[in-house]
């Protein structure tokens, strides 16, 4: 069963957006991150509930209105790695 991930507590994330640019502050690490619209959508999806990589691909396909195929799946895997590296998402409690 693929690893499922979830955003850290919403109480620890502070957002600010201007047009299609977003910054998010992680109160647990004290770091501020700039997010492009796709990454912002991914992180917001993880705030809605736990997702694995295929689940994120489904959420992103819905956002994009089309399925870019393998490119999107690769991007989802890389994005999960990046968000986890920065401590913005963590393994879901029900994960393996």
């Amino acid at each position: 069963m693929p690893q499922r991930w979830i955003a850290i507590s919403a109480a620890d994330l502070y957002w600010r957006s201007w047009n299609d640019e977003t910054v998010v502050y992680n109160d647990l690490t004290g770091d501020t991150h700039q997010l492009d619209p796709l990454t912002e959508t991914a992180l917001r999806a993880f705030t809605e509930g736990a997702l694995d990589a295929p689940g994120l691909a489904t959420a992103m396909t819905a956002f994009l209105g089309e399925d870019p195929g393998a490119d999107l799946r690769t991007w989802c895997g890389q994005t999960i790695d990046r968000l986890a590296f920065f401590g913005l998402i963590e393994p879901a409690a029900d994960g393996p």
């Binding site: 502070y14 600010r16 201007w18 047009n19 640019e21 977003t22 502050y25 109160d27 501020t32 700039q34």
Partner: protein, 307 residues
């Protein structure tokens, strides 16, 4: 009473003795020094500042005093102290005046957390502030010096003190540190400006301090609301141009330039976010000060009359 109202003998007596309490922006510093270069510098550069006769409290007790030991006979040095703490190694005696200014900047930058503190110049017109963050060598101080003699008020050349609710920037008008070629550029451009003697061979090259305009010192209680963030860059031969820049990128760059953004945590984020919300953000390239002044005139004219 202003510092200029004190007779020189009395000024020197206080500086060498109990100390002289001076208000700058929201802070009071009590200065002690028997080094004539600093005494002369304070008399020249701080002439318009209010002196507090019997200040019951000073935020900073700072001193620049000669170092002791045999070296004083062949290589005289001075040291800066905040209370009894010496944050720097001794400096050559000739660098005493810039050392005083850098020491006071250091004292404020390392202790203040009741404001978000951004490393930038700030100028004001019509109640609206321009934040000018920039790395050394970008021409920030030169530009700031020119603008405050062409209709803008100086809030600060080094430290933007932002209220934590992001609504206003407090004045901290102090002398502007000009370096190397900027000294002659400003001497030529502003013959009326008051500059300290040049100080050669400092860690930052040749330095001279420009006196803050009297009006900026007098309006020490008037904050300004953030309206623009402009990243200036001097570039030889460049046509002056102001180009919009990304707010998110501006946010990150200013956060990196803030002394206490990380320390303030979530409060710092919210504070800076409100500032960026309120500001138009631009990059500004220039090579001639007259062109720069004209561009900032146009900036001031934008939305004029807006409270």
């Amino acid at each position: 009473m202003r510092l200029a109202d004190l007779a020189r003998d009395e000024l020197n007596r206080r500086l060498a003795g109990p100390g002289l309490a001076v208000r700058t922006g929201p802070f009071v510093f009590r200065a002690r020094t028997d080094v004539d270069l600093v005494q002369d510098g304070l008399a020249l550069l701080y002439a318009d500042y209010p002196v507090l006769d019997a200040a019951p409290f000073a935020d900073y007790h700072v001193s620049v005093l000669p170092s002791r030991g045999p070296r004083r006979w062949y290589r005289p040095q001075v040291h800066f102290a905040l209370d009894e703490f010496h944050p720097f190694r001794p400096f050559p005696r000739d660098h005493a005046l810039p050392l005083f200014e850098w020491g006071l900047n250091w004292s404020i930058a390392t202790t203040v957390n009741q404001y978000l503190m951004i490393h930038s110049a700030v100028i004001e017109r019509g109640g609206r502030a321009v934040i000018l963050p920039a790395p050394p060598g970008s021409g920030k101080s030169t530009l700031c010096a020119a603008l405050i003699h062409r209709g803008w008020r100086l809030l600060s050349d080094e430290l933007a003190l932002v209220r934590l609710d992001g609504s206003a920037i407090l004045p901290l008008a102090r002398p502007i540190s000009l370096k190397n070629r900027s000294i002659e550029i400003i001497r030529d451009y502003l013959p009326e400006a008051v500059l300290s003697p040049r100080c050669e061979g400092t860690a930052k090259g040749t330095v001279a301090l420009l006196k803050a305009p009297s009006e900026s010192v007098a309006r020490k209680q008037e904050p300004a609301r953030p309206a623009w963030i402009v990243f200036p860059k001097w570039q030889a031969g460049a046509e002056a141009a102001m180009t919009p820049r990304s707010k998110a990128d501006t946010f990150l760059k200013i956060g990196e330039n803030a002394f206490n953004y990380s320390t303030l945590g979530r409060t710092g984020f919210e504070s800076l976010a409100r500032v960026v919300d309120a500001c138009a953000c631009s990059d500004f390239i220039y090579s001639r000060l007259d062109d720069a002044v004209a561009h900032f005139e146009a900036l001031a004219a934008e939305g004029e009359g807006t409270p």
